[in-house]
Symmetry: C2
Subunit: 333 residues, 2 copies
Amino acid sequence: MRIPYPALLFLGAGDDLAAKTAHGIRHWRPDWCLGQLRLPGATAELRLPDLTPAAAARLGAKSLIIGVANPGGFVPDEWLPTLVAALEAGLDIAAGLHDRLSDIPVLRSTAQRLGRALHDVRHPPASGFPVGNGCKRPGKRLLTVGTDCSVGKMFTSLALERELHRRGVHADFRATGQTGIFIAGGGVSVDAVVSDFVAGAAETLSPANEVEHWDLIEGQGSLFHPAYAGVTMGLIHGSQPDALVLCHATGRARMDDCPDYEPPSLEEALDLNLRVARRTNPNAQFVGIAINTSALDKNAAHALLADTQERLQLPCCDPVRTGVANIVDHLLR
Amino acid sequence: MRIPYPALLFLGAGDDLAAKTAHGIRHWRPDWCLGQLRLPGATAELRLPDLTPAAAARLGAKSLIIGVANPGGFVPDEWLPTLVAALEAGLDIAAGLHDRLSDIPVLRSTAQRLGRALHDVRHPPASGFPVGNGCKRPGKRLLTVGTDCSVGKMFTSLALERELHRRGVHADFRATGQTGIFIAGGGVSVDAVVSDFVAGAAETLSPANEVEHWDLIEGQGSLFHPAYAGVTMGLIHGSQPDALVLCHATGRARMDDCPDYEPPSLEEALDLNLRVARRTNPNAQFVGIAINTSALDKNAAHALLADTQERLQLPCCDPVRTGVANIVDHLLR
């Protein structure tokens, strides 16, 4: 999969929360983002020029990326005139939804007629993945894991990659979800892989590499999430991480989409993730904890990070507020 | 999915190991099995009359079941003349392979022309499954889990169902693999479900029921298997088992298909499975251990069962040698 950049980011008629994918691309790949396209009613705001597909194409855009998600992951009919206009303006279209662009007749026929590509990044390749083999492979791997979904695993992995690059360490972010795939330009949406092949897909995603090279693998879900723990389990086993970073968000009393469940304590999450990781890499260790403290003011956030670091004896940071340098210091020591 | 019985069991040119599915159906549903059909070179033997499709149809057969698996799960060209002859004789065809019968042009066109059905039991329904919600539902559930793959989880679950029925307890075997689905006449092949939906599929498989009704859910894989632990994890969480039975096979030094890995100890397997199960059912408990002792002679087998029962303080049996009455005694106490 090669999505051509720069891109016009399509936000539909949604808000900033729905436009999480667009915000991720905007934050991590600003040079790839030419403009935004919003439908009437949209409140999302990327601080980019509002462009039509034709205007974006004239400025050099090569693709329109659907940067908005709706529950169910489908393409509403209201989007179709804009998407057709994008193809007619000369742009490819890329999406990370459950629905495939190529299953929508008007998009498929228009793309075929004009020679444009439709990129469905969420869907695994038709050739599939092998079953996992559990064999050790060279290179070092770090995996982010979480107390819940949506706690900053992708952000933390990308921040670690940037900090390692700054120090001259060979490292690659490995994307496992749609936003990460747009940012990395490749990867595997592991939650869309048939369950028998998830560990094998994770093995494929972080292949054998130079001995000192780090793969920074984006975690998915949580071992404690009643719907998605199986995805997490396969990803941990297949990644064979040498290093783990636990991601957490403060101020969340209930698991994402599962109000019957409380998030685990940090201690419980460290313990179960490490136990599972050591099945395929007996040397696995936690090297830090990344906490999204956006629910706290500055003083409370710094106090929480200091207390947690003291209590758990691991470097503790908020990747947005403090950066991840202390985790990388510890990782490279 | 409704596979019409009785059936002619197709064994290809394979041996008894490859014909595991046929042996399972023969053992648990002898009344549904009219005959066997073997190609030249086959050594598999079900102790059933060898019948052609036409002869089987004259005796009342309604379907031909592909009871043999090959690595890769594909349909070799040598099978096609026999499969076409089965359709022409008036039989449906059912298979639990990775390959879909309905993707093979000659089978699809012949079935369409003659009005026969092709049953691909391994493939989930096109409508898919919901994401798991983790909500508690009425009815009791028992799940078999294993130290490894192929240690008797299906056999144990069926033996428990039979023993419960003998005692007048309402209970249903819930199949999660292709052989189990043939035996039950329904179920979900969870290893073929997209990973995001495995827990949801397990919730769907054992829906709300009478308070005293037992679902006996067939386990898959093992939390300790480097390729398949994610499947197991999703199945445990979605099943919300009240009771667990640990299945194990003696004399196995290495994990199935993963020679780098040793099976866990029984203690380790009890501990991790219980910890994971209690995430979605805090009352989960182990109620017994089922050991395949076929590698041992009678005295050694009975000594092992007695020692294990004493050491772990749980009823311990070999479902083939001793039956599962002691586990059911404990379960109903």
